[in-house]
């Protein structure tokens, strides 16, 4: 579905991503992990065309750079960790924006497809009962679910998640990851997700990429990548031992 080859991203003279190549297929939940500053989010930013890059990023064989913004939004949805809203829109207003890329022209009436996509997205994220509420009244987790509903309403095939539950409590983390798992069950879809929490990456990821200093350190299935030696190499510490010692407290 997505093929990245020889990706290079530089901020000034510093190369943040240095010659990175990997591919993601349908049905995969592809986790990108690595220490702070390794370039995880930069990879997602390059895919969503938010930063300039060298190399090639192809979606279903087409260079993403050549796609128009609207066309890209119909194929690729992005959910960030921080979502800010300037005005007191209703939840439905925010979710409805997810249908923007499907509009034929400025004054066109919304189609029944739009209404059903919005209703489905609200339903899938459990936000239907809040649809008329102002986003200013939502909790952090509800606001993130509202933006997830917007992304679902876009009906993308590829979902990019940049630490979507970083600041959410455990209940919301479980909810969001559960919702995305459900979404991924439909054939023809894939998820690429940047995560800090290696337990979540291990639990939900089918495939993974470990990055260190903008370069590929390990790639493969989640089991192949999240090994004690790979993690020690990337994080320069005994990650496995640390995780085990944390778990012991709960026994």
């Amino acid at each position: 579905m997505l093929e990245i080859s020889s990706l290079i991203v530089s901020y000034g003279k510093r190369k943040v991503i240095d010659d990175l190549s990997f591919s993601v297929s349908e049905g995969q939940w592809f986790m990108i992990a690595g220490p702070n500053g390794a370039g995880k989010s930069t990879v997602l930013n390059a895919v969503s065309q938010a930063v300039p890059y060298l190399g090639s990023i192809r979606f279903k064989g087409r260079e993403i750079k050549t796609m128009k913004a609207g066309e890209r939004a119909r194929h690729i949805g992005v959910l960030l960790q921080n979502n800010q809203i300037g005005y007191a829109f209703s939840v439905e207003d925010v979710v409805r924006l997810g249908r923007y890329a499907y509009r034929s022209w400025a004054f066109s009436k919304e189609k029944s497809d739009d209404e059903s996509a919005i209703a489905d997205a609200l339903d899938a994220t459990g936000m239907t009962y809040l649809r008329n509420k102002s986003v200013f009244t939502l909790s952090g987790g509800e606001l993130q679910r509202c933006f997830l509903a917007q992304v679902f309403a876009q009906q993308p095939e590829l979902l990019l998640l940049d630490e979507p539950t970083n600041h959410l409590d455990l209940v919301f983390q479980k909810q969001i990851f559960g919702l995305i798992s459900e979404w991924l069950k439909v054939p023809g879809r894939a998820v690429i997700s940047v995560v800090h929490d290696l337990s979540l990456a291990r639990a939900y990821g089918t495939h993974a990429l470990l990055i260190k200093d903008g370069r590929r350190a390990a790639i493969g299935t989640a089991e192949e990548v999240f090994t004690a030696s790979n993690l020690e190499n990337v994080y320069s510490m005994d990650v496995n031992g640390w995780m085990q010692s944390l778990l012991k407290q709960w026994e």
Partner: protein, 348 residues
């Protein structure tokens, strides 16, 4: 059920605001240095349109050549400034954004002041010099501000644009002061003009304003969804498929044309574009599909009432309209800002 109730509420808002606009328009035609009853106004206008002589010649001489074009210009200017303000506040996701914050008003004013001070005019159209200069300077200011913003930060981020807009406003004001220093003969007309005045407006002015407003409002209202996306956040707009740069340029250029035309005809009239969208947002919510049209009507009402106060408060003397909008607007703005403070909402 809920959406039907909302649609009905929306229809009521449109009905009320259109009715209020017509009522205030008639009130402004009736009241002034000479008060004229509404029925005489209809008759006088009907006679004038059909080329018939009027029984009430005093009413006709006040209404047709003086008050009607003036009230029309005031209403159209109010509508245009409020529309420009609402669009800017959405685009830049900033409740303090306005033509003046962007620096376009100052640029347009500088152009107009240069035209007045140095007597720039076209032989057949005496007032066109000020208008052309104001529009040119509004556009040049915009290009300068965007060019500088682009050099500093090539994503044209809103903070950079506002910062450069404020700096540019200060720069334009300084140049204006220098121009005024060298054009002491015109100080009175320049000062009166910078405070804003729609005295002596003509039907031609009204026609120019109406044409600009018609074209620009169609462009801006057709970008309601994009403005909604920007008002949520620029980042979100990019993610849902909005062509950020194209939309930004279209809205900024449209707004600068509106402001350039308004400034050239009525001088710089502060607070209409800033306060009106605030008030309207409290009723319609932030969705630009409703906010933009309702702001246009509300801006017209606000400026017509301000002009009425300016004309009648110290009758027979007249206050510059900008003074009235600034005094009323400052208090209203403090009140609104106090009520709606809280800034943005984030899930972080």
């Amino acid at each position: 059920m809920e959406s039907k109730r909302r649609d009905r509420f929306q229809t009521w808002i449109y009905l009320i605001i259109v009715t209020v606009t017509i009522a205030v328009f008639l009130l402004c035609l009736c009241l002034g240095s000479v008060n004229i009853p509404a029925r005489d106004i209809f008759r006088v206008i009907w006679d004038a349109v059909n080329g018939l002589p009027s029984e009430n010649s005093l009413a006709r001489s006040v209404i047709v050549p003086v008050r009607l074009p003036r009230v029309l210009c005031v209403a159209l200017t109010g509508a245009a400034l409020a529309l420009a303000g609402a669009a800017m506040q959405g685009l830049l996701r900033n409740t303090l954004a306005d033509g003046s914050t962007l620096g376009v008003s100052s640029g347009a004013s500088l152009g107009a002041v240069i035209a007045i001070a140095f007597g720039v005019s076209f032989p057949s159209l005496p007032f066109a010099g000020t208008m052309v200069m104001a529009i040119i300077f509004a556009m040049v200011s915009l290009l300068l501000i965007l060019g500088l913003a682009y050099r500093l930060d090539n994503s044209l981020s809103t903070n950079t644009i506002i910062l450069i807009g404020v700096i540019f406003s200060m720069f334009a004001s300084s140049i204006m002061t220098i121009v005024i220093t060298f054009a002491s003969d015109h100080i009175k007309s320049i000062t009166f003009w910078t405070m804003g005045s729609l005295q002596g407006s003509s039907f031609l002015n009204a026609l120019i304003l109406a044409s600009a407003l018609l074209i620009c409002s169609v462009i801006l209202i057709s970008h309601s969804s994009e403005l909604n996306a920007f008002a949520v956040s620029e980042e979100n707009a990019g993610r849902i498929g909005v062509n950020i740069r194209r939309v930004k340029l279209t809205v900024l250029i449209t707004v600068s044309v509106l402001i350039g035309v308004c400034v050239s005809i009525g001088g710089s009239i502060a607070f209409v574009g800033l306060v009106t969208p605030h008030m309207v947002r409290m009723i319609t919510g932030p969705n630009h599909k409703k906010l933009l049209p309702v702001s246009m009507f509300s801006g017209a009402v606000f400026l017509m009432l301000a002009d009425l106060i300016a004309r009648t408060l110290l009758n027979p003397r007249e206050l510059p309209i900008g003074v009235v909008t600034s005094i009323v607007g400052a208090f209203v703005f403090i009140f609104i800002y106090y009520r709606s403070r809280g800034g943005t909402r984030s899930n972080a």
